[in-house]
């Protein structure tokens, strides 16, 4: 439908109503400012800086030997003894520890902040569905972090590794490993959103999500089943075997993808709870 001055009416229906505009706005406030450059720089320093310095400290005569034995690494001890594998492990571990904290801090305000400032009520007085309000923000946060902290860092790390060993690094496994880093971030983003929809102030949101990120992995030995529904064992070893994420990055085939499927399902549960809670919210 066209209006008198040539503008066309937006014909959004159902849950997607308002999604495109909200997503564009949320993404724009990240990509159209220096935020993305700053974040990219920080992650470059934290993740690739450390890994690259390790890689280039390996004596040249030991590089080819280390590269040749990458395929046979099966235990954590072997990974630590191989300096190239160790560099990859550091890259993934820094990402596994720091990225969830960044995800929690940047998303803790997403719902509570808008609710408290009154902008949520303003937006929801427009043709905007409540799921679109939540999902547009979640999609924009996930995209922002996936690009600056995973895709760019992964590309730099892949280039560095290939350059150092003199041949292309096994791509498929490395991409799979990067996918697990994204899933790890997504787990904490969805968790924080869910807590933001349940609580009305920042304390419990920040407290619970940070506690889970920092302390959660230490319960893996006590309650092994949680490794199947969380990303906590993606890059941390609870047995002598190399963890799934590291194994993939080193070019090993995954022994089991249960934890990937379980974590994905848990993320979907978090999203469902968030949507249900927000649907009932009154302004």
């Amino acid at each position: 439908m066209e209006t008198a001055n040539g503008l066309r009416m937006v014909n959004g229906h159902g849950w997607r109503t308002g999604f495109a505009n909200l997503f564009q706005m949320a993404s724009g406030s990240f990509w159209h400012t220096k935020k993305w450059l700053i974040q990219t720089g920080i992650w470059l320093l934290c993740m690739n800086g450390v890994m690259t310095s390790i890689l280039w400290k390996i004596p040249a005569d030991r590089v080819s030997q280390a590269a040749a034995s990458l395929g046979s690494i099966k235990t954590m001890q072997a990974a630590q003894d191989n300096l190239i594998a160790f560099a990859v492990m550091i890259f993934l571990t820094v990402g596994a520890l720091a990225l969830p904290i960044a995800a929690i801090i940047t998303s803790q305000e997403a719902i509570i902040g808008e609710r408290q400032s009154g902008t949520a009520a303003w937006l929801l007085s427009k043709p905007v569905s409540r799921p679109a309000f939540i999902l547009s923000k979640l999609a924009a946060s996930t995209l922002g972090m996936s690009v600056t902290a995973v895709a760019i860092q992964g590309a730099v790390a892949y280039s560095m590794l290939s350059l150092r060993i003199g041949t292309p690094w096994p791509l498929t496994g490395f991409l799979g490993s990067m996918g697990m880093v994204i899933l790890n971030i997504f787990f904490y983003l969805t968790l924080t959103y869910m807590l933001g929809s349940i609580f009305s102030n920042r304390g419990p949101v920040l407290g619970i999500s940070l506690a889970l990120a920092l302390v959660g992995p230490s319960y893996l030995r006590a309650i092994p089943v949680i490794k199947d529904i969380t990303p906590w064992a993606f890059f941390v070893n609870i047995t002598e075997d190399v963890p799934l994420g590291l194994g993939l990055a080193l070019g090993r085939s995954p022994a089991s993808v249960t934890s990937i499927i379980g974590t994905t399902l848990i993320c979907l549960v978090f999203i469902a709870v968030t949507l249900l809670r927000f649907q009932r919210e009154e302004f």
């Binding site: 066309r8 937006v10 009154g118 007085s125």
Partner: protein, 322 residues
């Protein structure tokens, strides 16, 4: 168009209870198309609650309501496509400029190139007189400028219904004047439903008024009807001279039900209650003057001030409740 479609808003026993407290009780409201409907009541009367229910920001505890024939709960998005809303304390993204805010708002309703949308945005900025401040971040805006931006964003989609929650409450006299002027300019394009506790604003711009108190609708009527009062028509006269003969002539008329006389300085003031307004309009003054013994200084049908009506109704409601 059926008769029910000439009503933009219709509520049926709409109620809202918050934690055991009834904020709104069985509200039955009908808002005529193309009217400026003043929703009047003291603070805490349930005005904002009603507006939030109509916009789907809150859920009714009981009852129902329709806007443009759409159910407020089931079809909220369809309703919001045709409504513009200004909150009591409008909040926007502080880092954005007024122009960016209007572009963002317009994109919920329209698709088009930035140039096409800019045309609409420029029109809206002009309507509220914010052209010169359009590219400043909102965080530096005064209360009046925010309110004008609020009206602009509510109007950006040419809504069929504008819902304004206390649009002039936080403004200085000049700001209030500006906002009411914008409302008057918009009346030919849209239906305006606005809440206020400022009686003079209602009297100035509204054609229909609903009075709400303690969550209950006390009265709903066209403003003229309300100002004329609900009791028998009363005519007032200021007279000089020999009034007794004229008084006797009047009391003998079957449609004159009472005369209250009061001496004020050097003249007499009468309040004449009549049972037949048409006969009174045609015959009252000729009857008074027929003897030729008095001079009429003032003559008119008594109109009530909205404040009198409001106080009488809200007091009456309190007494009725007690």
């Amino acid at each position: 168009m059926s008769s029910s479609h000439s009503f933009v808003i219709e509520t049926h026993n709409l109620s809202k209870t918050y934690k055991g407290v009834e904020a709104l009780k069985d509200l039955n409201l009908s808002v005529q198309q193309h009217s400026i409907f003043g929703f009047l009541g003291p603070n805490g009367a349930g005005k904002s609650t009603t507006i939030k229910l109509l916009l789907g920001l809150s859920r009714p505890s009981n009852g129902s309501a329709k806007i443009f024939g759409y159910d407020i709960q089931r079809d909220s998005i369809c309703i919001r496509k045709r409504v513009g809303y200004l909150a009591q304390d409008p909040r926007f993204y502080e880092h954005m400029t007024a122009r960016e805010t209007l572009h963002f708002t317009a994109r919920f309703f329209y698709s088009g190139t930035p140039t096409e949308i800019e045309k609409r945005v420029a029109e809206t900025l002009e309507l509220v007189g914010l052209e010169d401040k359009a590219d400043r971040p909102i965080k530096g805006f005064s209360g009046g400028e925010r309110q004008r931006l609020g009206i602009a964003q509510a109007q950006v989609n040419y809504p069929d219904l504008l819902i304004l929650d206390e649009p002039a409450a936080s403004l200085d006299p000049q700001g209030r004047h500006d906002v009411l002027e914008v409302m008057e300019r918009l009346r030919k394009h849209t239906t305006i439903f606005y809440s206020t506790h400022i009686l003079s604003d209602v009297q100035r711009v509204s054609d229909t008024v609903a009075i709400l108190d303690h969550g209950k609708l006390i009265s709903q009527a066209p403003i003229e009807e309300l100002l004329n009062g609900n009791s028998a028509p009363v005519y007032t006269l200021g007279l000089k001279g020999e009034t007794e003969k004229a008084r006797l002539r009047l009391v003998s008329l079957p449609w004159v039900t009472g005369i209250q006389a009061e001496r004020v300085n050097n003249h007499v003031s009468w309040e004449i209650t009549v049972s037949d307004d048409q006969l009174a309009e045609a015959q009252l003054l000729p009857q008074v003057l027929s003897g030729g013994e008095i001079i009429v200084l003032e003559y008119g049908r008594r109109k009530f001030d909205l404040e009198d009506i409001f106080l009488a109704l809200t007091e009456g409601d309190k007494n009725g409740n007690s």
